[in-house]
């Protein structure tokens, strides 16, 4: 039994955006000219926060924000009328099935982390670029909700590889989500929480809601922890 999650070291994140770009590439998210903060699809989004003070005492930090993969009373799964959201009991991953989704957006309203995005556009790429799409992830039509699913395509590929080798368990090196793989500073680490305990000084966002999120953030800075 796995319990996949992430350890994110905020002190190591410089907000370069590699994780966001890698996520878009991995999940075949098309470039859309009209996308903005509200309508763009960014299953992982890097937020910038500051300590509220003036120069030269001002300090900023970057928080990569993605689906927190709630393990307890998962809010989005509870409200979905189509059972398009499921929580995999074997991994704890909260999945999203675009084929079932009706686009009612109840899940978006229920998500306390605003980590779900409605797809407002048909998938279109510049001429010829369809050839560069990731074959493991199907492009989604407009009118569905999208979110991070810890790169399910990569997990399936790892499972297939393990099955071909006659193994039941996948090799951890074969399954790393795109954001964690791309992060140049090593701030994002994908882990099995059952095997690796949360690091010291770590915290989870909106922990008081008791949804058991599986993304652990870490910072040595007090003001970051307070804001988190």
């Amino acid at each position: 039994m796995k319990r996949y999650g992430m350890h994110i070291d905020i002190d190591r994140c410089n907000g370069c955006g590699s994780c966001m770009v890698a996520c878009a590439v991995e999940n075949n998210i098309p470039p859309v000219a009209g996308a903005d903060d509200r309508k763009g699809i960014t299953p992982i989004r890097v937020y910038q926060i500051d300590n509220g003070e003036e120069y030269p005492n001002r300090r900023t930090a970057f928080i990569p924000m993605l689906c927190q993969q709630c393990g307890n009373e998962t809010p989005c799964a509870h409200v979905c009328p189509q059972q398009a959201v499921d929580v995999d009991p074997e991994t704890g991953i909260v999945g999203q099935m675009a084929e079932r989704c009706l686009g009612c957006r109840y899940c978006m309203a229920a998500c306390p982390y605003h980590a779900r995005y409605f797809n407002w556009w048909d998938p279109k790429w510049p001429a010829g670029m369809e050839a560069a799409l990731n074959p493991d992830v199907a492009p989604r039509q407009r009118g569905v909700v999208e979110k991070c699913n810890f790169c399910h395509g990569r997990r399936h590929a790892a499972m297939e590889k393990a099955a071909a080798a006659g193994k039941k368990e996948i090799d951890p090196a074969d399954y790393i989500p795109a954001c964690a793989e791309a992060c140049p500073s090593g701030a994002i680490r994908f882990v099995d929480l059952n095997a690796q305990a949360a690091p010291a000084e770590s915290f989870r966002l909106l922990e008081r809601l008791d949804t058991d999120p599986k993304i652990y953030y870490r910072s040595k800075k007090d003001w970051v922890k307070r804001n988190g």
Binding site: D11, R12, C13, N14, G15, C16, G17, S18, M20, V21, A22, V25, E26, N28, Y55, P56, R58, R59, T60, A61, F62, Q82, A98, E99, R100, C101, L102, D122, P123, K124, W125, P126, A127, G128, M129, E130, A131, A132, L133, N134, P135, D136, V137, A138, P139, R140, Q141, G143, V144, A178, E181, A182, C183, P184, S185, G186
Partner: protein, 418 residues
């Protein structure tokens, strides 16, 4: 007998009854499924999955890249030694970039160059010196009494792994100044103090940020070995490192590329200027270049993006760039992962065709050597004594970086010849 009342009762009853059957729910689900499978939705190409390795040349960091390919088409990029910057992560999308320079007029450019004022000098601006192409440019300019220009290069190479404290004077240490994977692999071994008026991304990750300060005094107070860096590794900073005992440890000599000094070129002396932007690097501000150009000078930029020197050049010719271009960086081969768009112009062919032909006659590599030939040089990820000799003979010896990136075995299945 059927009355209006019985018909209404039947329809209403059927409506209510249907709610207790799976039919409406199936309809809704099937509608959702159908709408996700319209023929207009692009279908990702399928095929055998393979991996290819190369070196990114989109910035001077030169990260080693492993591309996941479907057939011959790269569909994802990952770092060999760690993560990648956002630009490299989408490197395989650059051929489809809507603003990509795809058309030019090479014959018109040639004609304009032929008509240019012959009393003025010819010049090449090479944004990334140290390549085989750079050697050819130097050779061609020497033969034609031209100028070989390059942006200012770092005054020394740095070794972060040898330092316990790093004092950075505005160097963007964590923003592509060095290969990210190389920097972050040793990040926990040194304490970083960033002196910079702006709270940059590097400053955000530093252990201490100071808007200003006395560099020399601060460096002497830090725990040694101390490495002091600035953006260009200026002579003053190199001297301070020497004073702190870091020469040969935290800093070492940078390779010389034999570029002419732009500042010493008289104003208005250049009649034809070629700019090779196929390997982006540091840029010289355009006003500094512009004043050296003669009136009516012909400027030809070999560019892939319209946002660089292409904004100022009279002729903009499309050129191949990572991951389509075959080139070399710091003695490492960057093998093309995909075919370049139709119509791209090879800047070496354009600028130094005669020199290229001469050089190819001079150096004849053995067929069984397993080496690759981008233009004329012989390249190997781990240079052997013979390849080093050839490097030296062709004036191409460049101190290879300590970061081993692509092994000979990895290159073995990527035979690429010019």
């Amino acid at each position: 007998m059927t009355t209006r009342r019985t018909a209404v009762k039947f329809i209403a009853g059927a409506g209510v009854g249907a709610l207790f059957t799976p039919a409406p729910w199936r309809l809704i689900r099937d509608t959702a499924l159908w709408s996700e499978n319209w023929p207009g939705i692009p279908r990702p190409k399928r095929g055998p999955i393979s991996a290819k390795t190369t070196v990114c040349t989109l910035c001077p960091a030169g990260c080693a890249v492993r591309a996941r390919c479907v057939g011959d088409q790269p569909v994802a990029m990952a770092g060999v030694n760690g993560g990648l910057c956002p630009l490299c992560v989408i490197g395989h999308h650059l051929p489809y970039y809507p603003k990509r320079v795809k058309q030019g007029a090479p014959e018109e450019a040639r004609a304009a160059v032929a008509k240019a004022d012959s009393t003025k000098r010819l010049a090449v601006l090479d944004l990334r010196p140290g390549r085989t192409a750079s050697a050819l440019y130097r050779k061609a300019m020497k033969e034609q009494n031209g100028l070989y220009l390059a942006p200012p290069q770092p005054g020394a190479l740095v070794n972060l792994a040898a330092a316990k404290s790093v004092l950075s004077v505005g160097a963007p240490l964590f923003e592509g100044w060095l290969p990210p994977a190389e920097v972050f692999a040793v990040r926990d071994r040194f304490r970083l103090v960033q002196i910079e008026p702006e709270f940059s991304r590097t400053a955000a990750m530093a252990d201490e940020w100071l808007p200003s300060g006395d560099v020399a005094a601060l460096a002497r107070r830090l725990e040694g070995p101390v490495l002091v860096v600035d953006r260009t590794m200026s002579s003053a900073i190199v001297a301070l490192n020497k004073e702190l005992g870091g020469w040969g440890k935290t800093v070492q000599a940078a390779p010389e590329f034999g570029a002419d000094d732009l500042a010493s070129v008289p104003d208005g002396a250049i009649g034809v200027l070629y700019i090779d932007e196929s390997n982006p690097g540091e840029y010289i501000p355009w006003p500094e270049i512009e004043r050296k150009l003669a009136s009516g000078a012909v400027t030809v930029a070999f560019a892939w993006s319209p946002d660089g020197y292409a904004r100022h050049a009279k002729f903009v010719l499309p050129t191949a760039v990572f991951p389509e271009a075959l080139d070399d960086v710091d003695g490492r081969v960057t093998t093309p992962l995909m075919k370049a768009p139709e119509g791209v112009v090879d800047p070496v062919e354009f600028i130094a065709k005669a020199s290229l032909a001469d050089a190819l006659k001079e150096i004849k590599p053995k067929e069984d050597s397993g080496w690759r030939l981008p233009y004329l040089g012989v390249f190997d990820a781990t240079p052997s004594p013979l390849s080093t000799k050839l490097y030296q003979e062709s004036n191409l010896l460049v101190a290879p970086r300590q970061l081993a990136v692509v092994s000979g075995a990895e290159l073995a299945d990527k035979v690429v010849r010019a």
